[in-house]
């Protein structure tokens, strides 16, 4: 019955494309609901530190595709279970909310509340994707995850060689008034709320991927005045420059990941004088983590995973300090974490770990041991 068609069609193969077209089912609007979350049990060593349980994150993922080219994606997060007037803690926030326009297979334009493509955890932060109950401390104090800002960007693959992709965004800048000695640039994030656009900043990432291997390099560059003329004038006044490199490797039961980053805060002296803080002029560090799926040793046919892992982090939020600021060695931190991640499915995780924190200052301040248990999921 198909023969009469052949003379009509210039390319024979397109005949069948018509027949297959129904299975493509594109160009239909569809809405997707998903989510991820994590619940933590935390028990710090020492007297008078009873264990604590916390519904750390509950995130609703809502996405809508308008057609094959335009899609909206968002994550709405509740941290620490609830927010109540008059009591501290808890947060309701949009973690992401952006529109993607897929121009071609190689190029997508993105605009909205986006995640700066810096490091490993910021963009891939669903709990089953990382070992350890909590995210690495480095991804709190050095790279301030979950880091999100408003902006526009372009992303896609590069035709130079297979496996090379990029993301490049222009977003609102950091706000130096939030910088601190212990957490670096963390509270300088504006997170999409009435953000000052005095310092449009550039951030981007280049990635190279092979099966089992992902290498990435990221940067952020931008001013931090948020319009405070005492700190400076001009788009790139009092700039923060971040560069980082990361790697993820998997082979059979073994998985390894590591990252290094360095952040320079150019006018740290002025920032510290102006805002009464003690931010480092350089913040740097990294970590290395190795995990081994031990389940095949116990149950060779099981498809589940049981990762035994160890991670060592070294970072200093005052690696260098400006003239006039006293360097505090307690900010030179070493965090060693080891534990287990049991994954009955790829998107659920039961975790347990033990963390040892030490500082270059010693003496117990900012030091200690913590036992954590947790669950995480994504769908």
């Amino acid at each position: 019955m198909w023969r009469p068609l052949r003379p009509v069609m210039p390319v024979a193969a397109t005949i069948l494309a018509m027949a297959i077209t129904p299975t493509f089912s594109p160009a239909q609007e569809s809405t997707t609901l998903g989510g991820y979350g994590e619940i933590h049990y935390t028990n710090r060593s020492g007297r008078n530190t009873p264990a604590e349980v916390n519904l750390r994150r509950f995130v609703v993922y809502l996405a809508h595709s308008f057609d094959d080219h335009i899609a909206f994606r968002s994550e709405l997060e509740i941290e620490d279970a609830k927010v109540e007037g008059g009591s501290a803690g808890g947060e309701v926030a949009l973690e992401q909310a952006f529109l993607d326009y897929r121009v071609s297979d190689r190029v997508t334009l993105r605009t909205g509340l986006v995640l700066p493509p810096v490091g490993i955890i910021n963009e891939t932060h669903e709990p089953p994707t990382f070992n350890g109950v909590d995210r690495p401390a480095f991804d709190h104090d050095v790279i301030p995850t979950t880091w999100r800002e408003l902006g526009v960007g372009i992303l896609g693959t590069l035709p130079i060689t297979e496996g090379l992709s990029y993301r490049l965004y222009v977003v609102n800048g950091l706000k130096a008034s939030g910088f601190s000695n212990a957490e670096g640039i963390r509270e300088g994030r504006q997170e999409g709320r009435n953000a000052s656009l005095a310092n449009p900043s550039l951030t981007g990432r280049l990635e190279w991927v092979r099966p089992g291997l992902r290498l990435g390099g990221s940067f952020w560059y931008g001013g931090t005045t948020a319009g405070d003329t005492l700190l400076g004038t001009g788009t790139f006044a009092a700039p923060v420059a971040l560069v980082s490199a990361d790697a993820r490797y998997e082979r059979g039961p073994l998985s390894v990941r590591g990252i290094v980053a360095t952040i320079s805060v150019s006018n740290a002296d002025t920032i510290n004088a102006l805002y009464g803080t003690a931010v480092g002029s350089r913040i740097s560090g990294g970590y290395l983590e190795a995990a081994y799926n031990v389940l095949p040793l116990l149950a060779p046919r099981s498809k589940q995973r049981l990762n035994a892992f160890a991670r060592h982090e070294r970072y200093n939020t005052q690696a260098d300090v400006p003239r006039g600021t006293t360097q505090d060695r307690q900010f030179a931190r070493r965090v060693t974490t080891f534990g287990l991640t049991y994954k009955p499915t790829w998107n659920t995780a039961f975790k347990g770990d033990y963390e040892v924190r030490r500082t270059a200052a010693g003496g117990g301040v900012g030091e200690g041991e913590t036992l954590r248990l947790g669950i995480g999921y994504q769908f």
Partner: protein
Amino acid sequence: MLLVSLLLAQIGTAQTPKVAASLTRIFGRGAIGTPVVVNADTAVRVTRGDSVLGFAVVRNVKGKDQPITFLVATDPSDHLKDIDILVYREPYGGEVAYEAWRRQFRGKSAQDTLEVGRQIRSISGATISVNAVTVGVRRALADLTSWHRAGAIK
């Protein structure tokens, strides 16, 4: 003829040339595909002249929130010839379209248990797509193989 008309009405989506290009890439120039309706599904018989080059099927699997449209092609001995990612709509995970990942499937048969982390290496940061496409390919390969052995496609 009614069916033909219905199918003709479906022409015009942007993906149509991609299927043609994919079959040409996998089977070489001059490969002619003929749709074969199997139950509620449609397979493709690929021929050049009098010789049967193989079979193919186009399917969708769900990624994080978007369908990933892919093609699986087999040779007459039911070994997987190649897969192709025809349309990828997700913001992350598009690495499943890379040749270096796809080529792991070549030569596999329905007897091979295609599993991520065993026969198929994963891609860090593309877990959802890797798992979805692997499951989709496994099912497509099983279907093509059983249809061929049952004589539904020949």
